[in-house]
């Protein structure tokens, strides 16, 4: 009845090289979600119990700055991963996320996955390995953003 999301997961580069049983485990913790334009996905300080794989659309990672309103520091689009705060205590979001466009994503139950990773360390290793890569790429991109490469001093 519930159409399994396994095939969809397997298609995605994030899950490439992962064993079938692990993909199945993770699929069991996932579901399809949709957000309308402007819809808030989560807010800074909210419990971070999910992460998302964006299938289509655009999500803004934002901060609320007093007097300045919402400032977007990054957008995450189709094919990209959003959210790693579910991995470490206090499991709370550190920023806002808002759909800039109608967005279709896969949401993964972090609480459920954390428990499964504690049981199955091999699964844990596979997940942490992949998240490490996402975080590294995000950090490197952020550094380039910090460099302010297009400034006239460059």
């Amino acid at each position: 009845m519930i159409q399994t999301l396994e095939p969809i997961l397997r298609e995605h580069p994030f899950f490439h090289g992962m064993e079938d049983q692990h993909v199945r485990l993770i699929a069991g913790c996932s579901k399809n979600v949709r957000f309308g334009e402007g819809e808030v996905i989560f807010r800074e300080g909210d419990p971070a119990d999910h992460f998302y794989l964006i299938r289509e659309g655009l999500v803004s990672v934002q901060f609320v700055i007093p007097h300045d309103g919402l400032t977007t520091v990054l957008t995450v689009g189709g094919g990209e991963v959003l959210g790693w705060s579910w991995l470490f205590p206090p499991y709370r979001w550190h920023f806002d996320a808002r759909a800039q466009q109608p967005t279709h994503a896969l949401a993964f139950d972090g609480k459920c996955l954390r428990a499964k990773c504690d049981e199955d360390h091999d699964l844990g290793y596979e997940i942490y390995k992949r998240f490490m890569q996402v975080v590294t790429e995000r950090l490197e991109a952020t550094r380039l953003q910090l460099l302010d490469m297009y400034g006239s001093h460059v």
Binding site: T72, T75, G77, Q100, Y150
Partner: protein, 290 residues
């Protein structure tokens, strides 16, 4: 459309009458593009002295009594003899250039340098990655691609700037999006809340851009640090190193290989460049103080 590539005669090296003497050009228009960037549109004083050029080439622009600077040509190579140069105000000469008015006269030497290998892209996907003012030297290549659109497969333009206000040719980008079969994705490093588009460095758009790396030619232009990381992502995607091109920049006093200023490792940016295939500069790109 008849074989345009064969018809257009590119004036290269030996054909430039006297590469050391500026040719008078009259200013048709000075257009402010962004805060510190403007475009000069110029026509030759003597209509017989106009010349054609290949995308990626540059001219030495002379402001009477002030000095000369190298600036990439950013106009349509099929719309001669009009020339356009987009530049930032960064020094004495560009400052003086910004003050020039329609009807005033300046000197042009060129065209010099190597060009974007548009011919080599025939039958392939083309991915163009521009950063900031780097879109200016790439614009002639885009015109060339659009002039014979059917000869190329997918054409993707990834354009990153600091802020939405600093984007060049915004109106034109919208037009191209609508008129031609081009995938255009823009992103900014920082934006006000009114910006509804991508935020993040342009390199983040490469992993998912819609082109087939096994049959792609890449053209990259922007600040050197941006080009370095862009090349990294392009090669990571699987595009062949020898089909990845960049445009470099160095101090130039002559533009024709005599003054020695533009040396970049074993190359002269004015004659071996400014457009380089990546393998040629792979060992020096990113090396400090070369």
């Amino acid at each position: 459309m008849a074989a345009m590539f064969e018809q257009t005669e590119v004036v290269t090296a030996g054909l430039v009458p006297d590469p050391m003497l500026p040719v008078p050009y009259r200013i048709q228009r000075v257009k402010q593009e962004t805060d510190d960037t403007f475009t000069l549109e110029i026509l030759p004083e003597d209509s017989g002295k106009g010349f054609s050029f290949a995308p990626g080439q540059f001219n030495m622009l002379y402001v009477f009594g002030v000095g000369e600077v190298p600036i990439s040509i950013s106009s349509d190579p099929t719309n001669l003899p009009l020339l356009k140069h987009t530049t930032r105000v960064v020094g004495t000469v560009t400052k003086a250039m910004r003050k020039l008015k329609r009807g005033e006269i300046m000197g042009i030497r060129g065209p010099f340098g190597s060009h974007w290998p548009v011919e080599e892209a025939i039958g392939r996907d083309v991915v163009i990655v521009a950063g900031g003012i780097g879109l200016a030297p790439l614009r002639p290549a885009l015109y060339r691609l659009m002039a014979e659109r059917e000869k190329f497969r997918k054409i993707v333009l990834l354009y990153g700037t600091r802020t939405p206000e600093e984007m060049l040719y915004r109106h034109e980008l919208e037009q191209w999006r609508g008129k031609f079969d081009l995938e255009i994705q823009v992103t900014v490093d920082r934006a006000a809340s009114t910006w509804r588009g991508n935020v993040g460095v342009v390199t983040t758009m490469i992993p998912r851009a819609p082109f087939d790396p096994s049959n792609t030619l890449a053209m990259i232009c922007g600040p050197e640090v941006m080009m370095r990381f862009t090349v990294m992502e392009i090669l990571k995607r699987g595009v062949a190193a020898e089909r990845t091109y960049l445009s470099a920049e160095r101090n130039m006093k002559c533009g024709i290989g005599f003054c020695g200023h533009c040396q970049y490792g074993p190359t002269f940016v004015c004659k071996d460049g400014p457009v380089f295939a990546f393998p040629r500069i792979a060992t020096i790109l990113g090396k400090s103080e070369i």
